[in-house]
């Protein structure tokens, strides 16, 4: 089985390791670029949101690389995200590709169980061992990637030599991707800590603290958000996204951190009653949290025409007024220009710096 999945941020490192441990060959398309989005747009409905177009483009490239199984996350809900796994296979079928689709949902567990059992030659104890090892590898890889992302965000605004933290970040990610043994991964964690500590820094530099909220794909996929975390770091701001790939997997897969989130939600209820998708409820809650923690500003990223992202915008502005925390709202799509994005970030950061000096 040569399987692929919607590509988002660093998720392929975790899934790649997990699939290999299960005996599945992961097909990871090249990092999304102009060609990916051009082909995705060509075959998508015009008014569709940008994550759909990017993931479709990635699926096309993965199928051309020989993938025979597409794995989607499922769910039916108010947001269009739940329909990706239904609409994209139809489009790809009409394009003439031959493949199988597995939509991860409560109904498909038996199918997945049977498939993994088949890959272990029907040997149940062997399968149990493989699943346990795959889960451990996935968890280790995912949490190590998370640690690397955190360290790079912390070190970037403080580095003496521009680009040092980003170099360490890329090197670390590559090492995690290439290491497939549990012992190797545990050792790698220590090594990565040291590699970041070795970056010469200016510890007395005052950095702005920025919270980033918004739709998960826009937050996690650097190609869509023009690598906003790195950009903000280079502008001397410490960017703190409310969501990382690790938390996305943990939360949406296993509801990890739900209790802590519910406590935050209590304050958000006044402004937002229902979760409609697109992380809108979280956007409100984590904006309030950022204000309580004394952050300097909030950046809201969402796809252009994103239903929850658009409708939560005014509420976030209201929270921003009520709590006195500056907010910048940017919608992203395939036409968003990089220089326009950079200009808006620079203007926002310089406003925040002025505000803090006063």
């Amino acid at each position: 089985m040569r399987a692929t999945f919607p590509y988002m941020g660093n998720i392929h490192i975790t899934f790649g390791g997990m699939f290999r441990a299960l005996g599945i060959e992961p097909i990871v398309p090249p990092a999304p670029n102009r060609e990916t989005i051009t082909r995705g747009v060509l075959h998508s409905p015009e008014q569709m949101c940008i994550p759909f177009k990017y993931t479709l483009g990635n699926m096309i490239r993965a199928l051309e690389m020989g993938a025979d199984t597409l794995i989607y996350s499922g769910g039916t809900w108010s947001c269009r995200f739940g329909y990706y796994g239904r609409l994209q296979p139809d489009i790809l079928n009409d394009m003439g590709f031959k493949f199988r689709t597995i939509v991860l949902s409560l109904n498909s567990w038996t199918e997945i169980f049977r498939e993994i059992l088949r890959l272990s030659n029907g040997n149940l104890p062997r399968m149990a061992g493989r699943v346990a090892r795959a889960a451990r590898i996935a968890w280790l890889k995912s949490s190590t990637v998370d640690q690397v992302e955190l360290l790079s965000r912390r070190h970037r605004p403080l580095e003496q030599e521009p680009g040092a933290a980003s170099r360490a970040y890329r090197a670390a990610l590559q090492q995690i991707d290439e290491t497939d043994s549990i012992r190797g991964l545990v050792a790698l964690r220590r090594k990565i800590d040291e590699s970041f500590r070795a970056i010469p820094s200016k510890p007395d530099r005052k950095v702005l603290r920025l919270r980033i909220v918004g739709e998960s794909f826009c937050l996690l996929e650097p190609v869509v958000n023009f690598n906003v975390l790195e950009r903000l770091g280079n502008l001397g701001a410490w960017a703190d996204p409310f969501l990382t790939t690790h938390h996305w997997l943990g939360f949406h897969g296993f509801r990890i951190g739900e209790a802590a989130r519910q406590r935050l939600m209590k304050k958000a209820r006044r402004y937002w009653r229902y979760n409609t998708g697109g992380e809108d409820e979280n956007a409100v809650a984590y904006t309030i949290q950022a204000a309580d923690l004394g952050y300097d500003g909030v950046l809201h990223l969402h796809p252009f025409g994103c239903m929850p992202g658009t409708v939560v915008g005014p509420t976030l502005q209201q929270v921003s007024r009520d709590y006195g925390i500056p907010m910048l709202d940017i919608s992203l799509d395939e036409h968003t220009s990089e220089s326009g994005f950079q200009t808006r970030l620079e203007a926002f950061v310089s406003v925040l710096e002025k505000k803090r000096k006063r």
Binding site: Q47, I91, P308
Partner: protein, 347 residues
């Protein structure tokens, strides 16, 4: 207490129910007028630029009502059970009261009508509302009468009555002093952009189906009299509200999985109209940045149109020009007529 009902979005599907329910419960209602240019302009000014046209108009209606009544009824239709399945509203429907609160102030009291059939039946939600508005009232008969009223109104539309019949009793007092409510509601629909009188269609007639949300299609300020324009071009127009209740749902597995309540109806209508050559052409009308249409238009195109019926997509927003729309409609009707002549020589 006077309760205002903004005439937009859900009102185009539930108004008769609300009107009857509230009047039986014993509160006075005031419906905002049909969308005018001023109402739309006020809404556009308030709304975030990326949101769809009907929501912009809705905000204009709330703005119009807020100084004229003591409370405004804003529904939050989260989830409905239809043929045993749970179906949701689009995020704008789920967050409508939150959106209004964030954008308009000061507001009179907002009365939320929460319909979430995962938690409780619609009947219970309405009973709760009745208790809130009038503690002495039991609310059960109000709910039942409302349901009947709604069924009658839907039946009228299905048998081909003009959409204006939906607004019985909706006449704002500032426009009609007399009790002849039904007579004047006809007048309100011919607002500033009044259509020319509809000529008797030629026979045999060209049948064109429109798939669009009621709140877009029948709001003549938003759809720029699209339906009347088509009729003036000599077409018989079939809309989702005219589709029989008994029409079977298309067998396609993909369409079954669409879990939005209004869109489910649109898919059922599209399946019905496209089957057995009931229409010569189908127009998919939606507003710019309508998220659900992006999905269902694709499904209709890929799953339901096996016969290759000519289809066209129209996107409407507040910048849509009347002349441009007319040109596109004429071109579409010409094309459909040309095709129909080849298939049915007497058309």
């Amino acid at each position: 207490m006077v309760i205002g009902i903004p005439r937009g979005l859900h009102a185009y599907s539930h108004y008769p129910m609300w009107q009857r329910f509230l009047s039986v419960v014993g509160v006075e209602t005031l419906a905002s007028p049909l969308t005018t240019r001023d109402i739309l302009a006020a809404g556009v000014k308030l709304a975030p630029s990326e949101i769809c046209l009907p929501v912009k108009a809705y905000l204009g209606h709330v703005e119009w009502l807020r100084s004229r009544c003591d409370a405004i009824l804003i529904p939050r239709v989260v989830c409905l059970k239809q043929d045993g399945r749970t179906r949701f509203g689009c995020p704008k429907a789920l967050a409508l009261p939150d959106l209004v609160r964030a954008l308009i102030s000061p507001l009179p009291r907002i009365i939320e009508l929460n319909l979430d059939e995962r938690l409780e039946t619609a009947g219970k939600s309405y009973l709760g509302l009745a208790r809130l508005l009038n503690p002495d009232h039991k609310g059960k008969s109000a709910f039942e009468q409302g349901i009947l009223e709604q069924a009658e109104a839907d039946q009228r539309l299905r048998s081909g009555a003009a959409f204006a019949t939906f607004w019985q009793g909706a006449d704002p007092p500032h426009e009609s002093a007399g009790p002849a409510a039904t007579g004047t509601s006809q007048k309100t629909i011919s607002g500033p952009r009044s259509p020319a009188p509809v000529p008797r269609p030629l026979t045999p007639v060209l049948r064109i189906g429109i798939i669009a949300h009621s709140y877009l299609l029948f709001d003549s300020a938003l759809s720029i009299n699209l339906k009347e324009k088509l009729e003036n071009l000599g077409a018989q127009v079939l809309t989702p509200v005219t589709v029989p209740e008994t029409a079977a749902f298309p067998a396609s597995a993909r369409t079954r999985e669409i879990c939005w309540y209004y869109e489910q109806e649109l898919l059922r209508s599209a399946g019905y109209l496209l089957a057995d050559g009931r229409v010569d052409g189908l127009l998919l009308v939606s507003s710019f940045s309508c998220g659900t249409s992006a999905v269902i238009n694709e499904v209709i195109d890929r799953e339901l149109n096996h016969a290759g019926t000519p289809m066209s997509t129209l996107l409407l927003d507040e910048h849509t020009a009347e002349a441009g729309l007319s040109t596109r409609l004429e071109a579409f009707v010409d094309l459909v007529r040309h095709r129909a002549r080849h298939k049915r020589p007497n058309a």
